[in-house]
Subunit: 365 residues, 2 copies
Amino acid sequence: MKITTKTAHFSTPLYLESGRILEPFEIAYETYGELNEAKDNVILIAHALSGSHHAAGLYEGDRKPGWWDGLIGSGKGIDTDTHYVIATNVIGSCFGSTGPMSDAYPSEEPYRLKFPVVTIKDMIRAQKQLLSSLGIHHVKAIVGGSMGGMQALQFAVDYPNFADRIIALAATYATRSWTIAFNKVAVEAIRNDPRFEGGNYPRGAFAEEGLEGLAIGRIAGHISYLSPESMDEKFGRNYVGTDGLFELFGRYEVERYLEYNTNNFSRVFDPLSYLYIVKAINTFNLSRGYDSLHDAITRIKAQVHLISFSGDYLFFPSEMEHIARMLERNGQPHTYTEVQSDYGHDAFLVEIDKFDGVVRAAMEN
Amino acid sequence: MKITTKTAHFSTPLYLESGRILEPFEIAYETYGELNEAKDNVILIAHALSGSHHAAGLYEGDRKPGWWDGLIGSGKGIDTDTHYVIATNVIGSCFGSTGPMSDAYPSEEPYRLKFPVVTIKDMIRAQKQLLSSLGIHHVKAIVGGSMGGMQALQFAVDYPNFADRIIALAATYATRSWTIAFNKVAVEAIRNDPRFEGGNYPRGAFAEEGLEGLAIGRIAGHISYLSPESMDEKFGRNYVGTDGLFELFGRYEVERYLEYNTNNFSRVFDPLSYLYIVKAINTFNLSRGYDSLHDAITRIKAQVHLISFSGDYLFFPSEMEHIARMLERNGQPHTYTEVQSDYGHDAFLVEIDKFDGVVRAAMEN
């Protein structure tokens, strides 16, 4: 599979939902497969909070492929033999698109906290601008999970004629207090960390030793991505190391897992980007800008394929069902699948064999 | 209702599960009602993580009564007209019983991190010592929710002849990884806070400005005490203050609630006590010291009344059901009630009118 990684530069302004303008801006993106002549084989992939445009394939020297490599590739659910797949990095990210640590033009200083708040609507507007610049004005499908699913749904509502179908996994119609509360841990832990310096940390400050505040916030994140059942299965009550059970800081296996993963994450992910992307998730509400959720949903012309996971403790199946019921009542074309899984929210990343058939069928529909 | 608040001093050693000894030690406790001549009207109350021996009644000048005031009092589910109710403060606490900030005898310096790890088994052993010192060698009932429910269950297993009945609410048979993960946020946030000084903070350091790390950890706690449904009902997606939706640090109502409650808590609760009590919760496992959970449960001679809450996201109804099924199979006298509630784990504190009838019936049984 051919992987092409690029960054597109835009000197045109990006008009944000807040009324502010981002100019210039860049979008990092990756493509797999070939664009056909009719330009009608495009699938757009949208990533989640911690993701990037590296959705599939293996970079030279890497051991770990892109985050949805099980779904995207030759002969896979999203088949790159017949499709031209474009995965873009959201604005606000720290992986190549313009974000809070990018230069605030015309200075060479980062925006930091002067970066404008971006929303899911802004993310997809930027993506649309990218596709327009590539001469793509219509896509076969938009696919995403979690925050990626929010983007897919928002596309369907805001640009009803743009995609033939959207496939949204493990998402919702509006972020609930429950999720905002989980995100709050990260917001407070980052802000209160002295090394965050109110956002004025030096570039590259956390490459060696990640920001503890981000790691702490990420613990709460991991809880919400797993589930009681998946934790039972993964960790049980296993105790690790040579410390005895009666050492105050002796650790259960689940604790070691959380430490390891969150420490790694805090060296890789920029804390300001985390704050901005979390804000975009918190403010997500499909009905904003429309009279009601019903009004927003009614605009959709694409086929909508919704996939939820029974063990998802972040965005519960009932939330996707709520959308499905509205589509049903309106007679809008859609499918709804609840995948049985104990992997929690993360199932959309790890239980691909349980839903790639649904994705394949949707593409052929 | 007559409230008596006392502290009992013990110069006898408390032998801990870890093999260590706590000596001397103190237990703060409160009593309501009168001990009858036969000494057979005693009900022991056990508190949860953030609780204390002040379970009921109003202190002079206070606005807020004890944490289970709705359940304990004249004519209430736990009727102080006919019962002598004793609520004790667990060892490790910061509210009067010996804990990590108590003087490490014979010095006048606090134990701090030299305080021994205490377990639920240790907590009830201390309580038993207190009751013995009061001449009480048998009780009518032991009642507690959450960590208090763990204590009640542990009493039933470790001292089968001690109580006629135990009533455990919103608890479990062994703490699962899910709960340990929530607690992990607090452990890391406290340890990483520079003002914690590795446990060497001055006494009273947080009376004015609470430890941020404890407040952050407590955010995760509050998430686990509530539920998606209770948050929808309490907060929805309401946005507060004069900051607009597009201010990075503008807040949703749920965020304000979390800030307010956790900041208050961090001024009142000692962070070392929090670490120790959380450790006691993490290590809770009814089967430790016995061949199996079945073996532990089989020891029980008391009537066991289990009450779970349908919306509890910390200790799920299925965990209490698991105990009930074992009792059922063994033919041991018990009742199991799942209370329908959207209040999450906190239901055991706030939905008293939904279960006080069960408590009353259990007492009369």
